[in-house]
Amino acid sequence: MKERMKKVLAGRLRASLRASLLFIILAEVMIVHYLHLGHPYFWFENFPGFASLYGFFSCVVIIFASKWLGKLFISRREDYYD
């Protein structure tokens, strides 16, 4: 019973997080792209939802590029200098 409650709650939580992400990107598109409340510095910022998409892109790039560099030459055993 308790396990089931937990599952339902986790599902609800996930759904509401998804909804809020959607809401945030829609708000950004509305405010920046249609209402023109901001004043973009560069052409690429006119892309709808640029900040959100760039945030996601940055996160993915940072994780995977760093991991790749780490494998390539950065990461060593903890006692490397000992």
């Binding site: 990107i25 409340l37 901001g38 940055s58 994780i63 990461s75």
Partner: protein, 597 residues
């Protein structure tokens, strides 16, 4: 008499008094002295005092203007927070050194000339090295030695630049040197500044040393060395174009290393490099908005970074753990610490309503206004990375993740109080940026809270969080260490020592045998009986080139000649060889004297 109120003097005097006073009074003084410095920094009228002539050069150890006041005030405030955080410490050594460190940082911000700047520069380097030595962590001693050597090297760069400049221009005044960036003097000075600002490839000392300082010492270290270098850059090299890209790349570099890092405090140390990148970039852009942004971001950064280090330090203090791969589930035991840490994390991630939002965006906007699309994109990318690590990864693996079995408990009350005060400052700056903006070096009309700015920031951060949870398992901490630009001198130093002990040692033995034993033996034989000496030498030479047939005959004749040698055969005596060396040096000196004359 007002000269005696120089905050650096006040603090050094207090530092000398702290260990002598009874414990309670020493603790009180360690909080009161930075408070007094704060009052002096905030209330001193702008101008220059205590000027003096030094071998024909003008020194002005106390120059107050808007730029030095804001840095001085934030440094002092940080001194108060750091002192409160370390009140539980029984030994007074670190308390005292912390005051010297603050004194050095204040001396740098108030220095109106480069020589005074250099003196305080070295003072703060010594104090910081002492904090690393007193760290009591595994490897603290070696890390302190490395810290000292790297900073002495930086100090030599700085001093040579200063002397070259003084010889060239006849003035020591500390003003903008951007226009003279073609001269070697300015490059040397810039190099010294960049080393302390931890700009790669000169910055590997920072993540090396900070995690090895003690819990309370590290909190002070995060504030002073790099930010006094940022101050020196704002004052000395505003608008130096090279700094734009150095700063932007530095912001990304710190973030990349943070992904791979397993030690909580070293992860935060890499984020200092990343955050200082924004300030360095702002200095390079050099517009009024950018320089204001650099100063504002330095101020906000000092407080929230200290708060983050205090949080990670509290965990280390109560659990003894600093590796993320050993942690997890700590929120149960220390919810207050977690809450306060999260305020620092929100601030560094530039959430609206927190301090980073109102300061970091000034630099990013300045990059936009100057139409620098590359740095603009890099800085925004680094913002996402900052939130990813300090806002999500670190608290997730430290406080949630799994139940590691380590419970932990809240740290001593004074630590929580210092964290509370820092958190309060973060929130107040975020809510009322006007108070900070009014103290910036240039008039400031920046408005951080526009609808577009707030939604883009929230959008950027939320989708970073989405990426984090999607690829969570790729971020699981693994025990490892990362190669950094300190590899040449860390591995190089041991290779050099092996070379000293091996090949070079054997060569030295050979040389000693030849020069100290064979050569004097020959000389003494030659001087006592030249004829016999020549005969013996000739026989030895013939023996060397002998054929098997005549070898026995020659050996016999050599033995006979040695037997017949009148007087004692030379034996090595240290006194004799010392006398020989003295005579040789005197001869050399005489020759030099005549040649030069």
């Amino acid at each position: 008499m007002t000269e005696l109120l120089h905050p650096a003097l006040l603090l050094v005097a207090a530092a000398a008094a702290v260990p002598l006073l009874p414990s309670r009074a020493g603790r009180a003084l360690s909080v009161a002295a930075p408070l007094a410095a704060l009052a002096v920094c905030l209330s001193a009228p702008h101008g220059s005092w205590a000027g003096m002539d030094f071998f024909g050069l003008r020194l002005s150890p106390w120059r107050a203007d808007a730029l030095s006041s804001i840095f001085g005030a934030v440094f002092s405030l940080m001194g108060v927070l750091g002192a409160v955080y370390s009140l539980h410490e029984k030994r007074s050594f670190q308390r005292s050194v912390g005051l010297v460190y603050l004194g050095g940082a204040l001396g740098i911000t108030l220095a109106g000339d480069l020589l005074t700047l250099f003196v305080f520069w070295e003072l703060s380097a010594l104090a910081a090295a002492a904090l690393v030595f007193a760290g009591g962590r595994p490897g603290s001693g070696a890390a302190g030695m490395r810290y000292l050597m790297v900073h002495m090297f930086g100090g030599v760069l700085l001093l040579s630049g200063i002397l070259l400049r003084a010889a060239g221009t006849g003035s020591l005044e500390f003003t903008s040197m951007t226009a003279e960036l073609s001269s070697p003097a300015s490059w040397l000075i810039l190099g010294g500044f960049l080393l302390n600002a931890a700009v790669p490839p000169l910055g590997a000392w920072l993540p090396d040393a900070y995690p090895r300082a003690s819990v309370t010492g590290a909190v002070l270290m995060t504030a002073y060395t790099t930010k006094s270098a940022v101050y020196a850059l704002i004052r000395g090299f505003p608008g130096a174009e090279i700094l734009v890209w150095l700063g932007a790349l530095m912001a990304v570099y710190g973030v990349v290393y943070a992904v791979l890092e397993n030690d909580a405090r070293r992860l935060l140390a890499y984020h200092i490099i990343s955050q200082v990148g924004y300030m360095v970039c702002g200095v390079g852009i050099g517009t009024q908005l950018a320089l204001n942004g650099a100063a504002a971001h330095a101020s906000a950064h000092i407080i929230y970074k200290a708060l983050l280090f205090m949080g990670a330090g509290a965990v280390l203090h109560t659990t003894g753990k600093t590796r993320l791969s050993d942690m997890g589930g700590l929120w149960r035991g220390m919810p207050v610490t977690m809450g306060l840490y999260m305020i620092g994390a929100m601030s560094i991630s530039a959430f609206p309503l927190f301090s980073g939002f109102v300061s970091k965006s000034m630099v990013v906007s300045a990059a936009g206004e100057s139409l620098l699309s590359g740095p603009y994109l890099l800085l925004t990318l680094a913002s996402a990375g900052t939130f990813l690590h300090t806002g999500l990864k670190l608290p997730y693996y430290m406080f949630f993740w799994r139940d590691s079995g380590t419970r932990g408990h809240e740290p001593p009350r004074n630590m929580l109080a210092a964290m509370g005060l820092a958190a309060l400052a973060c929130v107040l700056i975020g809510l009322f940026p006007g108070a900070l903006y009014a103290r910036l070096p240039f008039p400031c009309s920046y408005e951080p809270y526009t609808a577009a700015h707030v939604v883009s920031a929230v959008g950027m951060l939320s989708f970073t969080a989405l990426g984090f949870f999607m690829f969570l398992r790729h971020l699981d901490p693994v025990p490892s260490m990362s190669l950094d630009t300190d590899w040449p001198y860390r591995s190089g130093a041991s290779a050099f020592m092996r070379f000293l002990h091996g090949p070079l040692g054997r060569f030295a033995d050979l040389l000693r045998g030849a020069v100290l034993e064979k050569l004097p033996a020959g000389l003494s034989m030659a001087s006592e009986n030249p004829r016999a000496f020549l005969r013996i030498t000739a026989l030895e030479a013939r023996l060397y080139f002998s054929t098997p047939e005549n070898e026995a005959v020659l050996q016999e004749r050599l033995d006979a000649a040695l037997e017949a040698y009148p007087g004692e055969v030379y034996r090595y005596r240290p006194v004799g060889s010392t006398v020989m060396w003295i005579i040789l040096f005197l001869l050399g000196y005489l020759a030099l004297y005549y040649l030069a004359g």
